[in-house]
Symmetry: D3
Subunit: 158 residues, 6 copies
């Protein structure tokens, strides 16, 4: 293996960064986000009367499945073996709070998987409730904690 793939390209063109020499270690990332909804939509979620059925269950599953599709959605993301996903959806007076934790034992971090999980759970939530509330807003999608890997543990300041 004579010369390694360069980490930065001279001409600034897009490329998938080389991770082949990074170590396989346990890694976890947690992301959160919110879907802002009308009072009527919140009521429909609390009463289980969203028009297309179980909105919370569908959004949770959409998020879990999307975590596995991250390398297909994010062009330069590396394929990562997703080893665990948990998604919590909490109905509040303002809408729905989403929190996702993803875990792997692989060569690179799993933050994009956590963010993709939250974003797609939010998209599915909007789809389930849009007949009741066409003004839904997805907001505050961000990584809040990660652990493992070379850079170590990190928690976002509140």
């Amino acid at each position: 293996m004579s010369e390694p793939l360069r980490h930065l390209r001279a001409d600034g063109t897009a490329h998938m960064v080389d991770i082949s020499s990074k170590e396989v270690t346990a890694r976890e990332a947690t992301a959160t986000g919110r879907v802002l909804l009308s009072a009527a939509a919140v009521r429909a979620l609390r009463e289980g009367t969203a028009p297309k059925g179980d909105a919370l269950g569908v959004a949770r599953l959409a998020g879990i499945q999307a975590a596995k599709k991250t390398p297909d959605l994010v062009p330069l993301a590396h394929p990562v073996a997703v080893h665990a996903v948990e998604v919590d959806l909490t109905v509040t007076d303002d809408g729905v709070e989403i929190r996702a934790s993803v875990r792997t034992a692989d060569r690179t971090g799993i933050e994009m998987e956590a963010l993709t999980c939250v974003s797609v759970a939010a998209l599915a939530m909007v789809d389930m409730i849009k007949a009741v509330d066409k003004l839904a807003v997805i907001t505050d999608v961000m990584v809040v904690a990660k652990s493992g890997g070379r850079s170590g543990d990190w928690t976002r300041d509140p």
Copy 2:
């Protein structure tokens, strides 16, 4: 074709709503969103020095491709023939503003495609810049206008 599939299910379980009797009409939807970034990240985008290469180009393309994948991501979304997609990314002092317009001639609206396009463009942007700014936030993802279909034209109040 004796009895139509029911639009609402008695037991509240998830189902894909029947659109087979809806008319094929031209439809368009526009969604917007923002990625909040640090000053250093904004500078990298303006100078074209994002570590993985052309961040704006990659995010734009990720959004366009994601619009086509909407029915694979959003569990109860209908497959829709996407006929046009445009994505505008504008670097501001606070980060990146994303605006996507999607058009079809089909039996159902295309708002979920526009929202998915914006969300995945935002995810790709976060991926391209995360080595510079791990605090990026995706926010204010929402439908701002739609036209066509039975419900007619609509623009979100500012």
Copy 3:
């Protein structure tokens, strides 16, 4: 358009049959199937204590999503715009009965979508319950009714 693609190939090789001259008509297909389970597994489903969570909800959604993936799974199936999907799962003393109805307005029948929906719902059910019952059997997956298209309405003899 001088000469049509042939419906049968002289050399017997696989090909996707030409449907471009068939008419777009409303079409529906219903398929059924069963997953045979142990008494302990049936109890877990009835009590909602399956180890990975809401088994019936996950299987239902897996079936709906699989209907959309039929042309990706069945090599010579035509892409069909799925317009409606309903999946019913009924827990019996022997396991779970699955019934799926799929509807489209397109150029070819939608039986494969209904069968794929039932088969993948069954696979997801096995996955959800396999920690309790590793002897699960998927059985009796078949089309039971179809309507629309040139061949007209048809119901399987009981």
Copy 4:
């Protein structure tokens, strides 16, 4: 890595179980199933005159490819690196018997891959022969043997 993701969730919601601390070991699973067909369909298979071409070859390949798609079809299945797949299709007087063996060296079992392989091979077989026999039934799809992993070797009683 302070606290592990929980194996069972208090609220019974769906989640992808954590396998990150399981060991990478060689694992194999074998599943079988049958497609029941009419005498005319069996004859077409034996004479190689199925209307869309080489039915056995197409079904075999559909099964192999589906094994790789298992995590995309089964919502809570973990991505597994499929290392070998073999599919045997045997034409009998009653239809077609399918037997698939799948092998990996990974952190979790590969039974779902073997079952998905058999199920999708069966769906493809139905598609190839449905112009001759619209009464085809997929039946007796089950795991018959597995080896490797913590639980060790196991063979289903006949």
Copy 5:
């Protein structure tokens, strides 16, 4: 529907061109290509002894399936309903000649589907034979004829 999506963008960025106002018409495209192989590889194909099995059948099916995946592979390609695919593979003394015809009734041409079909059939052929010949070359992949659509019938000069 006030203003149409622009066909050309002022800033030269990538976008999916608007086809929503184009008519649905029958369209067909034919592409060809070649895989250059060693004498030993040609012999293995003629004798049916390629190491991974039926190379011609696998390549043919890979091509058919790839035609359906064109919009997932080619970023700005529109989703098109593929209505027919035929792939012919001919073993010559120099390797394998591939010819694919694809047909649709849709709003845009289907040349990219025909080219993708040939390219992926060629890739699959290389994969099937690479244990015998690691010097295989895919060459001369091009559109040779198309018909239908506004631009009418066209055949490439020999």
Copy 6:
């Protein structure tokens, strides 16, 4: 694990070869190819006036993404964790030269990923420029170097 999956099948049918006992080692492959274009198309690429936007950027990204989709396109290819991808596109007087390097640390070689990367980059290039040049030809797609694995380093003779 009593008996290994056989490397060659007695009946010559297609199967995915067993790699579970091969070692995980760093592996790299490089492939090249060309798209032959008219003088007008070359000019459009050099002046950045290709009708659908940034042709070189889109082709590069299409290639990178396709490398990750290789096991979905090439039926008997093993899933491989792609760890790095670089694609260089050079506009010449005759068209575009494409060179792709792909790297992994896995159980099998990554030549098919490099070839798929080049082929799909070429397809995307043809799509971007086809409104200017409908005679584009994809040619000379081949592996030019590989390293790692049991067979060691290899470079194609010029």
